[in-house]
Amino acid sequence: MAELEARSMTGMQRPRPLSPHLQIYRPMLTMVMSIVHRITGAALYYGMLLIAWWLIAAASGPNAYATFEAFIGSLIGRLILFGYTWALIHHTLGGIRHLIWDTGHGLEPAEREMLTLATLVGSIVLTLLLWGVGYLTMGGPR
């Protein structure tokens, strides 16, 4: 008993080993995409302000809505909206990948690489497809 106690006490005082920092490791696709999942999540967090502005503008009246449309139609507005579209799709696909991993499936080396690559390629393709269809149905840039 006393021995156990002594061991736990010294264990408390001795500096515990630390895991190496991220910079130590060679960047791998799964690791980079894990970080990107967090970054897109944080970006979408602030992107919610854009949705709030859009809804409030619509509820406020034609003038407020025209101001929002002018901003979102500008070059900066379009860039933000394009980034938001990609972040939303990427975070959704990445979320599905994580849900699959949560079940314990798709964790073999080849499988996890494939799933990770699929979310990256899928997010880019879907974003371009969505914007392509958008521009086509709206008759090109206005």
């Binding site: 156990l4 106690e5 736990s8 006490m9 967090r38 999540g41 944080a42 979408l44 967090y45 919610m48 302000l49 949705i51 709030a52 809804l55 409030i56 619509a58 509820a59 009246g61 034609p62 809505y65 025209a66 939303l88 959704t92 979320g95 599905i96 994580h98 849900l99 949560d102 969505l130 269809v133 958008g134 149905t137 709206m138 206005r142």
Partner: protein, 131 residues
């Protein structure tokens, strides 16, 4: 006896069922629930936004205010707000360890999410009920 058992408490014993958020695995589980709900809601949201592109204000008001669209938008906003509240809390707990900074940022996260979500909900309800 009480004193010695307190001293013998291992780190495992102290953190078991708690974790950095002091609420165990509740956040982990709720993040998964809102993630699953978020898949169809996000698809619906993208479809709604795509359908409103280029329409004038009157048309946007009419569509956003129609019951089915408004209900889907409300579900999307509420689900997303909770999901992003948990997510940001997780990020803050990972990177901020100084107690008062951490508490202030956790509070700011709650205030931000409530304010943005309430603004969206109010706007959707106003579009639905008019005035």
């Amino acid at each position: 006896m009480i004193e010695s058992s307190a001293r013998r408490m291992t780190p495992m014993r102290r953190v078991r069922g708690l974790g950095s958020a002091h609420s165990g695995t509740r956040g982990f589980w709720h993040q998964r629930v809102t993630a699953v709900a978020g898949i169809p809601l996000t698809i619906a949201f993208v479809v709604i936004v795509a359908g409103l592109l280029g329409r004038n204000h009157a048309a946007v008001v009419q569509i956003l205010g129609s019951p089915v669209v408004a209900i889907i938008m409300l579900l999307f906003i509420i689900n997303t707000a909770y999901h992003m509240w948990i997510g940001m809390q997780e990020i803050l707990l990972d990177y901020f360890h100084e107690e008062y900074t951490k508490l202030a940022l956790l509070m700011a996260n709650t205030f931000f999410v409530f304010a943005v979500a309430f603004a969206c909900i109010f706007a959707i309800l106003k579009l639905s009920f008019g005035v």
